[in-house]
Amino acid sequence: MHSDAFDRYHHGQSPLHSLDPRIKVIITIAFILSNALLPDGAWIAFLLAWAAVIFANAVSGLGVAFTFKRSFIALPFALAAITVLFSIPGKPVTSYHFMMWDFTITDAGLLRFVSIVIRSWLSVQMAILLVAVTEFPKIIHALTHLHVPRIITMIISFLYRYLFVLTDEVMRLLTARQARSAASPGQRSGGSVRWRARIAGHMAGQLFLRSYERSDRIYNAMLSRGYKGDLMTMHPHHYHTHDLVVGVLSIAGLLIMQMAGRL
């Protein structure tokens, strides 16, 4: 596997790509925060937020529907919210009869459910766009500047660095297991569930040992290169006036959105 298999970054020259990562992180989080604060049924504000998503997509140069195409990953979770359709008291809209139960969808329940799904759908699009226009190490670096504890960001950058290596390791383990698990026709390969769980567990244990020993080697290699408990960067962040202007304008836009949601 190549190291870019997991990468969500799409290279480009757009203004969004060159915007300061800190500003991008702040705008994204503020956008998601704003969605969470919008009341149910704030249709105008939801529309404005969607317009903002489309606008950001257009500016990114990745295509207007770029995030739309990937925006359905969070949708299965909507199942968790489905109960509000029936449980909030309100005027009945429709009712279904399923086996021995009657389900009555109320207008208040429908309003709540649709609002939750829209909030989630809008928020995830901005998060998708953030990693599409910002290299992941830069996001982590931005988080350091935004006072996320250094230890956490350093560990995250290590995780990001070795993700590919250890995923490769797992792939080899999985391939090896598959190669050994030949099945004769009409018969399933492998033994009982317990046996299969034991094999999977041994793989996890094996992976742990390999990772642990690898971390030792990495630590020694780092020591020999002068590591003193802190990671250095060759890419210091400098923000320019236009970065700040974009940040301020975006926050102002979000405030207008909030006001529109409360009219």
């Binding site: 997991f6 925060l33 969470a36 149910d40 049924g41 990953i73 969070a74 299965p76 979770f77 968790a80 919210a81 109960t83 509000v84 029936f86 449980s87 909030i88 008291p89 709540r112 609002s115 939750i116 799904v117 909030r119 989630s120 928020s123 995830v124 998060a127 990693v131 996001i139 504890p149 230890i151 956490i152 560990i155 995250i156 950058s157 290590f158 995780l159 660095r161 993700l163 290596v165 250890l166 995923t167 797992v170 569930v193 769980a197 094999i199 999977a200 567990g201 996890a204 244990g205 992976l207 742990f208 040992l209 990772s211 642990y212 971390s215 990495i218 630590y219 780092m222 590591y227 408990g229």
Partner: protein, 316 residues
Amino acid sequence: MHSPAQLHIPDGFLSFIVSLICWLITALVLSVAISRTNKSLGEKQVPLMGVMAAFIFAAQMINFPVAGGTSGHLLGGALAAIILGPWAAMIVMTAVIAVQGLLFQDGGLLVMGANILNMGLITAAIGFGLYRAVLRSSRPVKLAVAGVAAWLSVMAGAFTTALQLWLSGTSNLQTVTLAMLGVHAVIGVGEALITIAALAFIFQTRPDLLDQTSISAHSGRGWVFAGVVITLIVLLLSPMASVNPDGLNRVATDLGFINASRSASGPLAGYSLPILANASFSKITAGALGSFVVLALAFLAGRSLQKKSKIDNRQS
């Protein structure tokens, strides 16, 4: 990317207040965790825990077919806590969940505090707490307890997820509790089996790692307490939430929490029945008392068993 357990809450499903409270709890616990691991690991902290985080991430890809197309997976919180110690495991899980949320949108950003709390902090506390209680017992006992702890950790994570969804006004308490616990009772078995087998493997090949990493630096007895208490809370509250949800609804309304947490999302009548107030309180009091009795008994039993096994160890 598929998540091993459907616990990664996306943005939009939790209210602002609930997300904020979860972030505060998470930040508080993590700040303790950071200072603790810093003391015990020093400058080795970053490479070791970074690679361990990648290990958990990769280990979550290991699966095994169970039946009918479903497969067993690892979430890894309990396993990480047992082999790395609870504080280190919390940081490692935080890194894993942060990358899943940031890079793959597997879980939201505003709700990441809740996701870390459910999948990283609670799982590690239960996993290590229960395991720590039987630290000096024989290997089969340790493995069995690790398995139970792994199962419970998944259940606890599922239950707190359900609670957060309910407090946010996203789900009906009874339905979401039943659904979450039902699904994760099965998922948890996969977790338990993999955890046991992985530990057995490490016991066989590198028992020294299990001694040095988890015990030496973080041998606090407080973990046993924390693990047992969280377990008891889950064991006591989850049947209540799934059988008699009105009691919990009533409590949350009386404390003003439901209205506060939902106020950000428009006027909403709490869907609880205005009865059972006194009954539910007496039930909770009884439950709390009962849990303390059980806790005390478990603690005493643990002590006496430990003393016994210490003597055994000396003799052998």
